[in-house]
């Protein structure tokens, strides 16, 4: 078996047949017993029919990444068996529908020709001759235990007990698959039924039906004696409190609610739109505030019992960023979320916000590019793009969260930076963070305070007026930050323009003013360097003198941390430098950590973009590169192998990882 903590469970089936639901039942069941989970979802840009699958790694202690080698594979269609069977570790369990035994590889049209040929080659056969039973035999020869299930018998029993037809019961295949795997591991039926009611939101009819399917599956598994034959057993763990099961789209949305974002725009795009959907679902916001707070609420005189967020679906991403910016001008915390091509369309709007010092937050979920690329697959290919996007030079902040939980706090910080420094902030995430699922204990809503920067109120403006002074939106100041006035505030007006402008916001082409304005705007980056604590910009994990230093950014964090733990047990002490604010770049800190260490850059992209950026900013060149760009996230098991090769001096300068189905 593998030397990583925990176990890896894999479910697969055709898109639209309940893979996600199934995984949801599984993770809920595990969380109910106190297990910590990490789930990774893979799907095609398709509504129905293409292959979709879901990994769940689980353990008694928190896990932060996925493992591709499975301990349990539960497949309710033949394609999953063809695609994934041979990925199991020795002693793994493979549960499948025995009716598929004689299915021909060539009959599955959703398997790419390239893949069919690879499978056949591994079996030493021609594609036309490969049957599902061939691949099962091969799996058994790897030490994988094969468990045939009679789906037909299970569902016939359910049909006879309920009024459901066999045809309609086919939609519960996913529940058979999940239940069988849990029965195999000794999980209690009652707890499974509790998980089912949670997932189906206590809707009695659906819960009852799925519970009946679970029960029939348990009987079947027991009648075959499978439940006593498998080594991995689950047990009820002591838990102190419930576990929160969330994906990155959700933690970002929750972060926005807490941060006080009250205006969100979006144009539909995978994998960003689920965040906006979640916000719209929760558009009315409970408030935790007493009347005593009322007269001293910082930035507003008004208080009501509930707040709200307007979620506005625009006609395109250009309108998404410009409408969010328009809203931000009035003082509301405003944001938009997008992915891939969406950000390409937003670029001109980003420049206007930079030029006019408007705080707007853009959450960018990277996916495989360029162009439409791989709409549902992950990549870290946009780092260089987001730090440079736009013509001309303007200040911006780019934050890259390392995981689903960190994204919650970074979302709140993003609004603080945007308002304090009056600039666009891009929160750079990816599909792996958006769509993966993790169990966490809690989200601390008091960890990050709200900081709105300098804003003048009506009273301030009246005072200014009494001194016969005019309010100037772009007034030159020591720090480069000019106090804001929310558009629509009494006793003032101001102007803003994408043209170069004077302090009042009117167009100017005067070279002296232009130079001063450029310097004013750009100097805010120095202010950020001075004011933002270094651990919000970069973080070092590990011993002072590691055997090897890994440097990365974004969603590889969990995998690297899990790797460090595994490797330290083997006596290898790794260090990890996580860059969190990729712009402005924390160059001094990065230089001090890299020093004269041997270091490896780890990135989910082709050109090791951060590696290049570090070289540009510090002069340090990575000793090794580990990169991956096939649209699948670097997994713990493949990174383990790649890093070991580096440690043992067997690695080429550049390793390209290739795992993934």
């Amino acid at each position: 078996m593998l030397n990583f903590r925990g176990h890896s469970w894999l479910i697969g089936g055709a898109q639209g047949t309940g893979i996600e639901r199934g995984a949801s039942i599984f993770t809920s069941a595990l969380a109910l017993w106190g297990y910590r989970v990490f789930g990774k979802r893979e799907y095609y840009s398709n509504i129905m029919g293409e292959h979709s699958y879901y990994y769940v790694r689980f353990d008694e202690r928190p896990v932060h990444s996925h493992i591709e080698r499975y301990h349990i594979l539960t497949a309710y269609d033949a394609e999953t068996v063809f695609r994934h069977s041979l990925e199991g570790v020795e002693g793994a369990a493979l549960l499948f529908n025995q009716a598929h035994k004689s299915t021909k590889l060539a009959s599955i049209h959703t398997i790419e020709e390239r893949l069919a040929e690879d499978i056949a080659k591994r079996l030493g056969k021609q594609v036309k001759d490969v049957l599902l039973s061939d691949i099962l035999e091969e799996a058994e020869s790897y030490g994988i235990k094969v468990y045939p299930l009679d789906y037909n018998e299970i569902l016939s029993k359910v049909a006879s007990k309920t009024k459901e037809t066999m045809v309609s019961l086919a939609r519960t295949n996913n529940v058979v698959a999940v239940s069988a795997s849990l029965a195999l591991m000794g999980y209690e039926l009652d707890s499974l039924i509790e998980a089912i009611s949670y997932v189906f939101e206590n809707k009695k009819r659906v819960v009852d039906l799925n519970a009946a399917v679970a029960e029939a599956t348990y009987e079947h598994v027991r009648s075959k004696g499978y439940d006593t034959s498998f080594a991995i057993k689950l047990r009820k763990l002591n838990r102190n409190g419930k576990l929160l099961l969330v994906n990155g789209n959700q933690t970002v949305a929750l972060g926005k609610l807490v941060a006080g974002c009250r205006f969100q725009t979006y144009y539909p795009i995978t994998p960003a739109s689920d965040e906006s959907f979640f916000l719209e679902d929760n558009e009315i916001i409970d408030l935790q505030v007493t009347q005593e707070d009322f007269p001293v609420i910082q930035e507003s005189k008004i208080l009501d019992s509930t707040g709200s967020i307007v979620v506005f679906q625009t006609e395109d991403e250009i309108a998404a960023i410009t409408a969010a910016t328009g809203a931000a001008l009035t003082g509301v915390r405003a944001s938009t979320s997008t992915s891939g091509p969406g950000l390409s369309l937003m670029v001109e709007g980003l420049g206007w916000a930079g030029m006019n010092e408007v705080p707007v937050v853009v959450v960018h979920y990277q996916r495989g590019g360029p162009s439409t690329g791989l709409p549902t697959r992950t990549e870290q290919g946009d780092l260089r793009f987001v730090i440079h996007a736009g013509h001309g030079e303007f200040p911006r902040v780019v934050l890259a969260s390392g995981d689903i939980e960190e994204a919650f706090y970074d979302t709140i910080r993003a609004f603080n930076y945007a308002e304090k420094y009056q600039l666009p902030v891009i929160l750079l995430l990816d599909k792996y963070i958006a769509n993966s699922l993790v169990s966490i204990e809690k989200l601390d809503v008091k960890k990050v305070k709200i900081e709105r920067g300098e804003v003048l109120s009506e009273e301030d403006l009246l005072k200014l007026k009494s001194l016969n002074e005019e309010y100037k939106r772009f007034k030159f100041t020591e720090t480069g930050v000019s106090p804001r006035v929310f558009a629509g505030t009494k006793h003032a007006v101001y102007w803003a323009t994408g043209d170069e402008h004077d302090e009042a916001g009117h167009i100017t082409e005067d070279p002296v003013l232009r130079q001063k304005m450029m310097e004013k705007r750009m100097s805010k980056l120095n202010l950020i360097e001075k004011e933002v604590p270094i651990d919000e910009r970069a973080k070092y994990f590990g011993p002072e003198n590691p055997d090897l230093l890994l440097v990365s950014w974004g969603s590889t964090k969990g995998t690297i941390l899990d790797l460090m733990e595994t490797m330290s047990k083997e006596g290898h002490n790794l260090g990890f430098l996580q860059i969190r604010m990729v712009h402005p770049f924390p160059e001094n800190f990065v230089s001090s950590i890299i020093g004269n260490k041997k270091w490896v850059i780890v990135e989910n992209n082709y050109s090791a973009q951060l590696g290049g950026l570090i070289r540009e900013k510090t002069g340090f060149v990575p000793t090794y590169q580990i990169v991956k760009y096939n649209g699948r996230q670097i997994s713990l098991d493949e990174l383990y192998i790649a890093v070991k090769r580096v440690i043992f001096g067997q690695a080429p300068k550049r390793q390209v990882l290739t795992n993934g189905a």
Binding site: S28, Y198, K242, L245, V246, Q250, L254, L257, V258, G260, R262, T265, E283, I285, D286, Q288, V289, D293, I297, Q298, E299, S300, I302, L303, D304, G307, S308, I309, T314, E315, A319, T322, A323, A324, T325, G326, A327, A328, L329, T330, G331, V332, A334, G349, V445, K446, K449, I450, R452, F486, A487, G488, A492, V493, W495, A496, T497, G498, H506, I507
Partner: protein, 325 residues
């Protein structure tokens, strides 16, 4: 009666660099006059523009003024309006700006019926880039800066606005500021999305549809031998097209048919005035209010988000609970 705001309160001292005789001057003064007559507090008004000669308008008006991107004035304006529905929001766009590069926004804004006003500076050319054909220039017309006659058809702003769902559609003329000012006032007061398409001679690049041409040059009455002005007012001919909830399908169809005929009229007789008013639909804000009952009373731009210690006041515990097992 003593008025709170004077006409000069709507003016800025910014040097105006439009060409002498530009129709934009007439539009600018009509907007200022309208705001003055409606006695709008300048700090309650947000004017958004795109890029072009028209785009400079906000700098000359003493309200909150935002000179945004080419084609994008509408989404900026709508974002601001939805954040603060209590403010008066006006978008001024060039014809290239609003109906060319920004056409998608123009159409989609109509679908929503946000309570705001759009003024189109319809000079048939791209003024600021030196006279290329704008989307409102007719097929085959060759203005003086064009190397060849215009190879594309013109879009009809009135009909495009109607097809998109605008609920107030008018056309004005830049040199009849009294009439134009009244149209802009009505547009501002209309509940919902209002468009005023303004015929605006460009003395520098449009030598075809000039001030003189609109005034009747070459349009000689065979009986009197005198030139007849091309522009006439719809309201002077008993035209009215207001659609209300209590009208039958048949009545509505008749009104719309008549509107379409008027919208196509061009050449010797060019109508200005209110083409269409539709009182049947809720505004976008009213629709939002049905989902968020305190939306207007407590809009996004007015909400408190932190308490006196600076901690967030949003309470997400119910949502977190629903995601917990």
């Amino acid at each position: 009666m003593e008025l709170k705001f004077k006409l000069t309160d709507y003016r800025t001292s910014v040097h105006n660099n439009w060409c002498p005789g530009c129709g934009d001057f007439g539009i600018l003064s009509s907007i200022q006059q309208a705001l003055y007559e409606l006695q709008m507090d300048p700090s309650n008004v947000l004017i958004f523009s795109g890029i072009g000669c028209s785009g400079k308008t906000p700098h000359y008006i003493n309200t909150y003024g935002f000179h945004t991107l080419h084609g994008r004035a509408l989404p900026y304006a709508i974002g601001a309006k939805l954040a603060r529905p209590d403010l008066e929001v006006i978008a001024v766009v060039g014809d290239g700006d609003g109906l060319g590069i920004g056409a998608g926004h123009f159409v989609n804004a109509g679908r929503r019926n946000v309570d705001f006003t759009v003024v189109i500076y319809d000079n048939e050319v791209y003024g600021l880039t030196k006279g290329q054909a704008a989307p409102t220039l007719k097929l085959g017309v060759q203005t003086k800066s064009l190397p060849k006659p215009n190879i594309s058809q013109a879009v009809n702003p009135i009909l495009l606005a109607y097809a998109s769902g605008y609920t107030f559609i008018a056309r004005g003329y830049a040199y009849d500021t009294n009439h134009l000012k009244e149209l802009i006032k009505q547009a501002i007061q209309h509940r919902g999305s209002a468009v005023v398409d303004v015929l605006q001679p460009c003395p520098t690049y449009n030598d075809i549809h000039t001030k003189d041409w609109y005034a009747g040059k070459g349009n000689v009455d065979p009986k009197t031998g005198k030139e007849i002005p091309r522009i006439y007012k719809l309201e002077n001919e008993g035209y009215n097209c207001v659609i209300t909830n209590d009208m039958s399908e048949e009545e509505i169809s008749k009104k719309i048919a008549q509107m379409i005929i008027k919208a196509y009229e061009w050449g010797d007789r060019i109508p200005v005035g209110v083409f269409y008013r539709d009182l049947r639909f809720d505004t976008f804000e009213e629709r939002l209010e049905k989902r968020i009952p305190n939306y207007k009373a407590y809009p996004p731009g007015k909400q408190a988000i932190s308490n006196r210690e600076g901690y967030p006041i949003a309470d997400i515990s119910k949502i977190v609970q629903s995601l917990s097992v």
